[in-house]
């Protein structure tokens, strides 16, 4: 099968990672976030529930994958790494208080002569637990450990054209899914039955390409849950005269395009129509502000100015960089569209512009995934920007 992109793409990613490693004075980088492992070598498997790491030396040598023995076949199938760079630990390292996979990693680093110098690690990544660092430090006293969290994430924040192409496919999937979702939200139907239809559409994808399992499950916020952004769906039926917020994604080769819309079952109250109108105008204002050279907080400022005319405000950020990822989240964890974020927009950055208005007891959501172009913004997701009313 091999990795998702041509070898030249991975060589470029590695070169840009090494430039940042040089700036940070790192001799070695331990990459444990599954999204970053995928980005640098193509590795794709649901194995990140056990410790695994891609070791990237500063010198021009092939990175080394170290993971659980049974997963090394996935490394052979999904990466460009040669067999000599695919190492693994025995199965009794798994969930065993008496031994830790990071002790095995330390041993490998010693054998390769990589146990001195400055070693970077992803200190705030989901999959680099506190104990990993303690075990590494205890086993490699000669090394200086440096928190290099987000080093690779920043490399991947500007996408290649090939990545954009995959995200366009993800966008086609989420557009298809959103139509299915809007149809699925019906008075009397259980929320879980709508979720089932939505998940089907996400994974079925299109006749030309299927979907992966997204990093976030479908978000279906109905009734009292429409006031809280991360609630799970329930068995309860959709009720008349309620709003349902849908935050969905398409996932293709682990790249995401996300989109949100809101459905009202009945005649929406004037207050909701006002919020929908303000949000739609704010969305347009934000997108019109986007172009290379603009900083992230300017996009937020345009949004804020627009909705303030309606007497509205939103205390949370309105968007974030999006791309390749695994659960629990599809964000790149780098740039955010909010006050204080001075990240300068560049062509082929991609954002999920997420306008979630969580009011007292109800909510309204509208969002798009956009790409920064040479001159402005291009919405990768194309879908009517409106409140969907089903009487």
């Amino acid at each position: 099968m091999g990795p998702a992109f041509p070898q030249s793409e991975y060589a470029d990613r590695l070169a840009r990672t090494r430039r940042r490693m040089a700036e940070a004075g790192l001799d070695l980088l331990l990459v444990s976030a599954p999204d970053n492992m995928n980005y640098l070598c193509g590795y794709d498997a649901w194995s990140f529930y056990v410790p695994q790491v891609l070791v990237v030396p500063a010198a021009d040598e092939e990175p080394v994958w170290i993971g659980r023995g049974m997963d090394s076949v996935s490394t052979r199938i999904t990466t460009y790494l040669s067999d000599a760079s695919i190492l693994s630990y025995a199965d009794d390292y798994v969930e065993n208080p008496a031994k830790h996979p990071m002790a095995h990693v330390a041993q490998v680093l010693k054998e390769r002569g990589w146990d001195g110098g400055r070693i970077g690690y992803e200190g705030d990544a989901y999959f680099f637990a506190a104990r990993w660092l303690e075990v590494l430090r205890g086993n490699l006293p000669e090394a200086e450990f440096v928190d290099a969290y987000l080093l690779v994430n920043w490399v991947r924040t500007v996408k290649s054209d090939a990545e954009i192409e995959v995200m366009r496919q993800a966008a086609r999937i989420v557009e298809h899914t959103m139509w299915v979702a809007i149809d699925a939200v019906q008075v009397g139907r259980r929320q879980c039955d709508a979720a089932a239809r939505i998940s089907y559409a996400q994974i079925e994808g299109t006749p030309a390409f299927g979907g992966d399992s997204p990093a976030n499950p479908p978000s279906i916020l109905s009734g009292e849950n429409s006031a809280t952004p991360h609630a799970a769906w329930t068995d309860e039926p959709f009720l008349p005269d309620t709003a349902t917020c849908l935050e969905l994604s398409g996932c293709r080769r682990r790249y995401h395009a996300a989109m949100s819309r809101t459905v009202y079952l009945g005649k929406p109250p004037p207050q909701m129509l006002d919020v929908a109108k303000a949000t739609g105008e704010g969305l347009e204002a934000a997108l019109e502000t986007v172009k290379p050279g603009v900083v992230c907080e300017d996009v937020d400022a345009a949004w804020k100015q627009t909705i303030a005319r309606y007497g509205l405000e939103k205390p949370s950020r309105i968007g974030y960089s999006i791309g390749v990822n695994y659960p629990p989240n599809w964000a790149d964890h780098t740039a955010s569209l909010r006050p204080g974020d001075k990240t300068v927009l560049e062509p082929n950055m991609t954002f999920h512009l997420m306008l979630g208005m969580w009011m007292h007891g109800w909510g309204f959501e509208m969002s798009e995934t956009f790409r920064v172009t040479e001159t402005g913004a291009e919405s990768l997701t194309r879908f009517p920007r409106q409140l969907f009313v089903k009487d």
Copy 2:
């Protein structure tokens, strides 16, 4: 809506957690694993992609939830906590290099007078990154930090009758799903289209109760991927004369019942029939060994002895404790069925007995979720134990 179980259940869980805290000499426990947060207070939201914690004092006081502001509504909806015990940090703490949510947590601990003594943390949990500990240590110099990983996981390893009841519902869901899956695997159909049907069945659940989004996505290992246990499905069609391994779950109120079966499209080779027969006998031998007082490694020994008669071996563990969880994994991370694990079986422990035979270039899987009873084992999942052959 409220939490999934009656208040008495949570009081009991908290009391048992506090007994273990006393044994470990802890004054306070910081619970960050979303599964353990759910277990102790009912909290259920897809918000664990940002830092959050349930603070459990040793004294008989209500635990305190600290998380992102926008998620505090979910805390009100899904837990028994009073408003005074639901605290939150401002949105600009999210993914902001200039400030860290754990600094806010430290501040709260100071205000409550909880900043001294021995503070336990979940040092190898998925969601307790290395930096969290560094920020906490830096902000709370008076405290002694103690790695209390798995403290709560061990409390939850023996299930209550109410939890078993929920796991039975999950078992009904996975049985329904497996029938759908076996039907869905057809020569020429894309793997993603089978995955879509499987996901639909998992979430639709039964007419009486719907399914949650499981902690692991459907595992559909076909063709070359049947030799590697954690590969993702692809767009490729199922091919004639190939095996497809299906490792699926039902998820109900975030509790899992898992089950695996294998489908062969065509006439299976004798070698596969041998492995299927050996695995089936090994499964029966393992289950017959289970009863209170037996230790985990004895179950594995019975399995090993049986398959050795067929000249087979399996280098990886054959099962693990299973229950409430979130991605990336449905295991309790406590007891494993493997050599060296001396955990004594007790009534209402639950295991996923996972017999994955990953051979060179192909694989065979069969598994059940079972409960330890007063006298033996009860398989929660009920499904024909065979290789499914579709000519």
